[in-house]
């Protein structure tokens, strides 16, 4: 991919910025000129929450150039909570992925163009991080160390 294209895609890659259709309210990702739901001109920018579930997945053993050194890795279709399906790599996996597994978006290195080229960053998804919201859980944690 050429440098200008990486740069132009930064918003959608770094932050999952898509669109919200002003006509039928559909959430659209990646951004289109025309709404895929109602075929009217697509509208204003919309930042997705970055949460969803695994819809399907496959493991890549023989990686294309730029992704070599990462294999084996898992590419999944993620159903975002707002509706659209997104294809992305799963990262930080601790065992095989499962269909329906809740995941969240993180920004990671997607590929590097050799030792001298640019580093391309973008979204991947990982198992939603467990975090303690209540007082009791956090004091238990600190007491345990």
């Amino acid at each position: 991919m050429e440098l200008p294209q990486h740069w132009r895609l930064a918003d959608q890659r770094y932050r999952l910025i898509g669109e919200k259709c002003p006509h039928c309210e559909a959430s659209i990702f990646p951004p289109h000129d025309v709404c895929p739901e109602c075929s009217k001109p697509a509208g204003s920018l919309y930042t997705f929450a970055g949460t969803g579930t695994v819809y399907s997945h496959t493991t890549i053993i023989d990686a294309p150039e730029g992704f070599d050194g990462q294999e084996p890795y898992v590419v999944a279709m993620i159903k975002l909570d707002e509706g659209p399906l997104v294809t992305a790599q799963l990262t930080d996996l601790d065992g095989p992925p499962e269909i329906g597994m809740p995941v969240e978006m993180v920004t990671r290195k997607l590929r590097t163009d050799g030792d001298a080229g640019i580093i391309v960053y973008g979204y991947k998804f990982r198992t939603a991080l467990e975090h303690h919201q209540d007082e009791a859980a956090s004091s238990q944690d600190t007491a345990g160390k």
């Binding site: 930064a10 918003d11 770094y14 932050r15 930042t47 050194g69 990462q70 790599q89 990262t91 930080d92 601790d94 993180v106 920004t107 990671r108 290195k109 997607l110 580093i119 960053y121 991947k124 991080l129 467990e130 975090h131 303690h132 919201q133 209540d134 956090s138 004091s139 944690d141 600190t142 160390k145």
Partner: protein
């Protein structure tokens, strides 16, 4: 709060702001992989000799200081809940920036939606680069130049295979959104810096691993600067160690901060919460900042926190914070430091060597 007065400048070494400044949001990050010290000694010393820590954190293949800073920054923003467009500076302190030339800070700023009306820069000063960004952000906000500034200390530190540093050189850090005192979870009472030219640890351009002065790194380097900065701060504020609920120091291992704390008069109880090196290793520019995040995770309104960083070369930044009533509602808005430490996948030395690019191909 006492305002700076130009007539006292020559006597008063503290760095103070014109308006009250504090931490509006904070966020930690530690990658999930752990290399136990016993794995390092198994490979290099036949398992003889205990490491200076239990285990250290290791970044995944797709992580670097930019991606880790982005996640910490998102956690800080989740706690602060402000419009990223109001941030006027994103500063990342590290000694492992992904590019030799091209800022990490612009990548982070873009990823959190803070561009383009923003100052962005990468900072260096070995392990002190993170606290420097905080002091600079305090100045930026405290002078009225900006409403918010984002300060980050983050590293993916590397040790030469077989070197003593390999037990501890780790990955992690924290982000601090600095802003007006009235919207802060903790207010900076004062900050202070103590710096000399000391060649205890360095890395020349093009070298992959740092060099260090072995035993020279302790007495004339770490202890001298941490001690001097800590004492100067206590004196200038006319405070006693007992006036603080928590203290946190740069932690290249567990022993150094324990001894520095003791020499200054702090107890084990005061440093326990912020002392994470035993379980995550030395996260360099992120070290004292990550410890401070762990303290803020459990701090209560009114608590006072004593902070001293250290960076080779050499210098220490000391800060004193007072926690406000706003802390309780913001602690749970993002993952806590202990959530990241609990998320743990143990790896062996071979996997570590692959993840850290230590194999020649």
């Amino acid at each position: 709060m006492k305002r700076n007065n130009h007539s006292e400048d020559t006597q008063d070494p503290l760095l103070k702001t014109l308006i009250e400044v504090g931490i509006v949001g904070y966020g930690a990050y530690v990658p999930r992989y752990r290399l136990p010290a016993k794995e390092v000694s198994r490979v290099w010393t036949g398992g003889i000799g205990a490491g200076p820590i239990l285990e250290k954190s290791v970044p995944g293949l797709d992580e670097d200081v930019a991606t880790m800073s982005i996640e910490a920054a998102r956690n800080a923003l989740a706690r602060a809940q402000i419009d990223p467009g109001l941030i006027r500076a994103v500063w990342v302190g590290s000694e492992s920036h992904p590019y030799a030339v091209k800022p990490t800070s612009t990548i982070v700023a873009e990823a959190i939606g803070a561009t383009p009306h923003i100052q962005a820069a990468d900072w260096e000063f070995a392990c002190k680069a993170g606290s420097e960004t905080m002091q600079a952000a305090i100045g930026f906000v405290g002078s009225g130049m900006a409403q918010y500034a984002l300060a980050i200390g983050m590293d993916t530190a590397q040790g030469r295979p077989g070197d003593a540093l390999e037990y501890t050189a780790a990955a992690g850090g924290a982000a601090y959104l600095i802003g007006p005192g009235k919207d802060s979870i903790a207010i900076f009472e004062a900050t202070y810096s103590y710096v000399t030219d000391t060649p205890d640890f360095w890395r020349r351009p093009g070298e992959m691993y740092p060099s260090h002065g072995d035993r020279f790194t302790g007495e004339p380097a770490y202890f001298k600067h941490v001690g001097a900065a800590g004492r100067a701060m206590l004196e200038a504020l006319d405070a006693q160690p007992g006036d603080f609920d928590y203290a946190v120091f740069h932690q290249p291992n567990v022993k150094f901060p324990e001894r520095a704390a003791k020499e200054l008069g702090f107890t084990q109880d005061q440093i326990e919460t912020g002392l994470l090196a035993g379980r995550v290793g030395n996260v360099y520019a992120g070290s004292s900042l990550l410890g401070l995040a762990a303290i803020l995770d459990e701090a209560k309104p009114g608590n006072r926190i004593f902070f001293v960083s250290y960076g080779s070369g050499a210098g220490s930044d000391a800060m004193v914070l007072r926690v406000t009533d706003l802390i309780a509602e913001r602690q749970g808005r993002a993952p806590k430091t202990c959530d990241y430490i609990a998320r743990r996948t143990e790896i062996d030395y071979a996997t570590y060597a692959r993840y850290r690019g230590k194999l020649a191909t």
